[in-house]
Structure formats: C-alpha cells, structure tokens
C-alpha cells in the first residue's frame, strides 16, 4: 500500500475525530435557530458539559454516567437560555455571551474546589473514558487492498460518541423534514404567528428545541473531556462552539450540509496538525495561524453571499409575543 494513501487515511481518521464535537454542537445550534432562538452560547454549554462529564466520570469511574451528567448540565444551561429568550424576551446574544463567560469561570472554580488540581479534573482512564471501538474482523478485512485499510483506519477505531454524532445527522434531517414536530419547529422559526394561529404553542416548541439543543451540546462537551481528551482542562472548548456556529451557517441551517461543513472544518484542523513544521514545495511552511483562521474566513465569505445563497430562519432571534 502506498505511503500517500495511508497518509490520506490517517488524515480522514483525524478529520472524523475532530469533527465529532463540531457536528453535535452545530446540530444543537441548528435546532435552536430553526425554532427561532439564536444560540451563541454553544461554547459555554460544551464547556459546562465537558467539566460535568469529566468530574462525574472521575468520581464514578463510568464514562456513561459522565456523559449523562454532562448532558444534564448542558440541558440546564440550555433551558436557562430558553427561559431568557422565550419568557423574559431578553437579548439572546447577551444571554449566550453571559453563559459562555459564566461557565468559563464557574467550571474551573468548581474543579478547583472538588479536585484541587489547579482548575482541572483528574486524568481519566479505563472505563471512565470512552475507549475506541475496534470493529469486527479488522485484521482480516484490513488485509484486503484499498478497502481494507479504509475499514481499519477510518471506519473502525472511533469512540461511541463519534458514531453517535454521525447518527444524529440523518436523525435531525428526519425529525426536521419528515415529522410533524419538525414541521412545527421550522414554522416556529419562520412564521411563529401562523403556528400560534393554528393553536400550537410557540413557547413549548422553542423549549423543546432548547432541550434537544442541550442534549446535543452535552454530548459534544462530554466528547471533549471523556473521549478526545482524558480530563477537563480550563477553556478546553477553545472556540469550538463558535466554529460549530460557523459550520451551521456554512451548512445553510440544514443538517447534511452542516455535517459537510463540520467535516471540512475538521479536515482543515487535521491538515494543519499534519502540516505543522512541514516544508511544502513552492509554498514553504504554512503558518498554523493561517490554517486556524480559514474556517472563519470561509464563513464570512459565505455570509457575504459571494458563494451560493444562504437563508437564515426568518424569525430567528426575535422573541415571540402572544397576541
């Protein structure tokens, strides 16, 4: 097998891994915005869940209990944002920012209080962490040329959360476009008056969207500290919530294109890790600061409408007032 092919496969493997939290968080943002709530607090919810998951996993020794705790923490934050946005008709941008900042301070404070590790949680291993799942017959199939390494390197060998994340994309597409709930949810984000006139509660729809948002952000956060990493570290979400937001816009508020955007951003991330310190012919060494800002530049270009046309949900960010 050629060296180059194997390189590509390893790159794709890290793409999937790095895209996992992005996919989950971007879908979380998508549910919220489709229901009419702007959510720039994805970052804070991921961070909160990353902490809660790592802390619970460290104490109970179970990654799954950690995941549940992370989801719980994230849902609480999501409902707080929902309450501010829906019942208090507060400014959704300010609320998201407040959640991001509060969690950035609260998580290391609690970590310090409980574990005395300078704002971190203890290192997780064994069942306290999501281990990679090796698919059956990797040895046998791996020996098959071309397809074999693809199976062994890219498809097999991820944590349960990565497979779960990939599954949530078709699920979101099905929920949004093939169920009555999805139709109503999208209507609440486009034309809430019509939903209200039909006798359906806009508030209830938006709260439901925020619960889904919290669950997805919770899984995303848990993946950071109990699957990709092995502990909670201060500020470990490192802008991934905003990147997910960018991916959602890049994907035009649609599940499958959003997945593609996340994979693209994940690939850019994997590539920059791979190219670090590599002297490319003609171009020389690409500074990693450039590769880091590529997704953000993509998003601005897309937003500017220079490439394709995007359409945000019309009522997104506008509090609904009952007649």
């Amino acid at each position: 097998m050629s060296e180059f092919y194997l390189d590509i496969l390893i790159l794709l493997d890290s793409t999937l891994r790095l895209a996992t939290p992005l996919v989950l968080a971007a879908l979380a943002g998508l549910y919220a915005e489709r229901s009419g709530i702007v959510d720039i607090g994805l970052e804070g919810k991921m961070l909160g869940s990353a902490f809660a998951a790592a802390a619970a996993a460290a104490v109970t020794g179970s990654a799954w209990l950690g995941l549940l705790t992370g989801i719980g923490a994230s849902v609480v934050l999501a409902l707080l944002h929902g309450w501010v946005s829906i019942h208090q008709r507060g400014n959704q941008i300010v609320s998201g920012t407040a959640i991001n900042i509060t969690v950035a301070g609260l998580a290391p404070t609690l970590a310090n209080h409980w574990f005395h590790l300078n704002g971190q949680t203890p290192l997780l291993d064994g069942p306290a962490r999501f281990q990679v799942i090796t698919w059956p017959w990797v040895e046998t199939i791996g020996a098959v040329p071309v397809i074999g390494p693809l199976y062994a390197e890219v498809i097999s060998g991820h944590s349960a959360i990565t497979y779960l994340a990939l599954f949530t994309v078709p699920l979101a597409a099905w929920v949004l476009y093939r169920t009555r709930f999805g139709l109503r949810l999208r209507a609440a984000g486009e034309n809430p008056e019509a939903v209200d006139t039909a006798g359906i509660s806009v508030y209830a729809l938006r709260y439901k969207a925020m619960i889904i948002n919290g669950v997805l952000c919770g899984i995303a956060g848990a993946s950071l500290s109990t699957a990709l990493g092995a502990a909670f570290v201060r500020d470990m979400s490192a802008g991934k919530g905003f990147l997910a937001l960018a991916a959602m816009i890049f994907g035009n508020w649609k599940p499958v294109p959003t997945l593609m955007a996340c994979l693209l951003f994940g690939f850019v991330d994997a590539l920059q890790g791979r190219l670090q310190g590599v002297d490319l012919p003609l171009i020389g060494e690409i500074p990693f600061q450039f590769t880091i800002m590529l997704p953000y530049i993509f998003t601005v270009v897309i937003l500017a409408g220079f490439v394709g046309r995007i359409q945000a949900p019309r009522a997104s960010g506008i509090p609904y007032e009952k007649e």
Partner: protein, 373 residues
C-alpha cells in the same frame, strides 16, 4: 402587554437606576451562593472586594485602570447599538487597534513623543475602525448578519496578530509571541507620575493618561451622537431604518459610520494596556474586555455617563476580585470571571426581570401616597 400599560408605567428614573441596581444585587446574590457552596463566607468576600477595589489609594488607581478598558469597549458596543447594530467584535477591533498602534509606534521610532503619541493613537483608532467597517459594509450591502461576522472577525484578528507576533513583529531573541518594546516616546505617562509633577502624592498603579483620554472619548461620543447631524442620522436609523430611508437618510452610510466610530473606540483599548503598561504588543492582551463591554453598555443604558459608571463598577469587580483571590485562597480569578458572567446575565439579558414587581410596587406607593412619586 395591554394590561401592563393600563397601570401607570415605571418612572424613567426608577427604570434607569433601580432596575440595574436590582439586577446587580441579583447577580451578587447568585455569586454569593456559589461562594457559600465552596465553603467561604460571601459577606467576607464582599468586604475584601470592596476594600480591595476602593479601600486605599493604589486600589482606586487599579480600579480606574481596569475601568479605562471597559469605557473603551462599552462605548464600542453602545455606539453601534445606537444604530441598531450588535457589535460583538470589540475583542477583535481592540486586537487590531493594538496592531495598528504597534506598527506606528515601532515603525516611526525616533519621532518625539509630541508626534509619536498622537500618531500611535491614530494608528490604533484607524485599525480598529477599519476592522469594524468591513462587517458593517457587509451588513449594509450584502445583508451578512453583523453578530456572526464580528464573531468571525474576532478569531481572524487573533490569528492574524499572533501570526505577526511570531513573524514580522517578533522581538529578536524572545521566545514568547511579543513585539519589541515601543520607543519610550510612545509610552503614556502614569497618573501617579503626572500628579507627582504637580505636587500630589498618590499610590503608584498602572493608571495612566488613557483614563483621561477615555473620559474624553465618552464626552465626544455623547456629543457625536446627540449633537451632530451624523449622530442624529445614526439614531434615526437605529430607531426605525424604514423611516430613515424614507426621510432620505442613507442607512448603509449610517451603519458604516457608526461601526467606524465604534471600532475606533475599541481600538483605543491598546492605549491603556500597551502604551500605558506593557510597552509592547503581546498576544491576547484584550483578555475578554471586548465581551464585557456588552455588559457595560447595557448596564450604562447606552449613555456615555452611564457607561463610565458601569465601567468603574466592572473595574472594581476586576481589581476587588484580584485582591479577593489573594486574601481567600479558595477563590481564584476564575470566580471573578463567573461573577462577571452573572452580572452580564442579569444586567444585560434579564434587564426586565424585576420590572413587573417594581411597577407593581410603584403603583402601590402611588395608591397610598395619592398623587405622589
């Protein structure tokens, strides 16, 4: 809503003072719960914080030094808000302002202070303004949502500056990402040095001339918005873009103008942090001040005078918090970030939380006192 209007609305002065005060108390109460939960006394913490922020000369100096940053970023949010735009890019604009300042200060090394200081300030304002003008233009002409573009621009600015700090602007021989020192002519004098010059003895602190510049900017911002034609147009666009367009006001021009001024204000953050204290460009010197500017603008009701007061409050929170972290080992700087978050939540996002209760209370007072209040 109709029911709310049938009873007398809350008096303006109460909405402007009592509501923010109640919100602040609520934020402190929730923070106090967390402090209590980790086994410290919230009252002691409050005592340490107030003493740490205002208790002695140096403390006041530090409080005002931090407040300077918040005046700049608070104005940056509120000036855009006057035009109906949400500028969440103060962080990036401040970062680029720092870059502009560094380029001028280092590039024009050799000029006397009387020229170098104003030119560096100009560099900071221009770079910050330009960085804000692009999202404004994209919003005006292409309909790109300015909240998202300014967030993206924050990340792009951070990457750009950190790239320059390991490349063209890197200090020779230094391991960390920082520029060479600015020439001394570009340093802003510290307040305690200035005051010593006129015979006043005050504690030494990083408080520098930028504080007075920030106050001047607040006054200028008020004048610009309330007393000039451009400011008037910006207010009309912010109030009702449709009406503004009918009235012959160019909405796009107002967008760009408001963001230019806002970005320029944010760009001046570097005056305090870089020209006043660090004397070189360092990565991440903006430290989230741009985001806190959102809370400052909201608490200050987008009025320059209110912003100065809110900035001093946040300055006190920073300085008092640093002191608190020193006095109570269980409390770290993280805790202060959390308190800020709660203040932003209550004072910004939940600003109307207590309005119904307060309105009811005032209604009762009126009923009791006849026509009073």
């Amino acid at each position: 809503m109709a029911a709310e209007h049938s009873i007398a609305p809350l008096p303006g002065w109460a909405a402007a003072t009592l509501l923010p005060l109640l919100n602040l108390l609520a934020a402190f109460a929730v923070s106090g719960l967390v402090i209590w939960a980790i086994g410290e006394s919230p009252l002691d913490a409050l005592k340490f914080m107030i003493y740490g922020a205002f208790g002695y000369g140096e403390a006041v100096g530090y409080t005002l030094y931090y407040a300077t940053n918040f005046i700049f970023t608070g104005l940056a949010v509120s000036l855009a808000f006057k035009c109906g735009l949400f500028n969440i890019g103060g962080e990036g604009q401040a970062m680029m302002g720092g870059l502009g300042l560094a380029v001028v200060a280092i590039g024009l090394d050799g000029l006397p202070a009387i020229l170098l200081v104003p030119l560096s300030i100009l560099g900071a304002a221009l770079f910050g303004a330009a960085w804000a003008a692009i999202p404004a233009w994209l919003q005006a002409k292409r309909g790109s949502h300015i909240v998202i573009t300014t967030i993206m621009f924050n990340f792009i600015a951070a990457s750009l500056v950190s790239w320059m700090l390991v490349g063209v602007l890197k200090a020779p021989g230094s391991q960390s990402p920082e520029s060479p020192d600015f020439p001394e002519a570009a340093w802003l004098p510290k307040m305690h040095e200035l005051l010593a010059g006129i015979g006043l003895e005050v504690g030494s602190s990083p408080l520098n001339l930028s504080f007075l510049i920030a106050l001047g900017c607040a006054a200028l911002a008020w004048f610009f918005i309330e007393r000039t034609r451009w400011g008037y147009e910006i207010r009309v666009v912010g109030g009702n873009p449709g009406a503004a367009r009918f009235g012959g006001i160019s909405v796009s021009r107002s967008f760009v103008l408001a963001m230019l001024v806002a970005g320029g204000m944010a760009g001046l953050l570097g005056l305090n942090e870089l020209m006043g204290l660090q004397h070189r460009l360092i990565a991440n010197f903006t430290m989230g001040y741009g985001f806190v500017g959102i809370a400052v603008a909201f608490m200050g009701r987008s009025h320059p005078f209110g912003i100065v007061l809110a900035a001093i409050l946040f300055g006190a929170l920073y300085q008092g918090g640093a002191e608190l972290a020193f006095e109570m080992p269980a409390i770290s700087r993280d805790m202060i970030i959390m308190v800020q978050g709660f203040v932003i939540l209550f004072a910004g996002a939940l600003e109307h939380l207590f309005r119904p209760q307060l309105t009811w209370l005032f209604g009762r007072l009126r009923a009791i006192g006849g026509t009073g209040v």
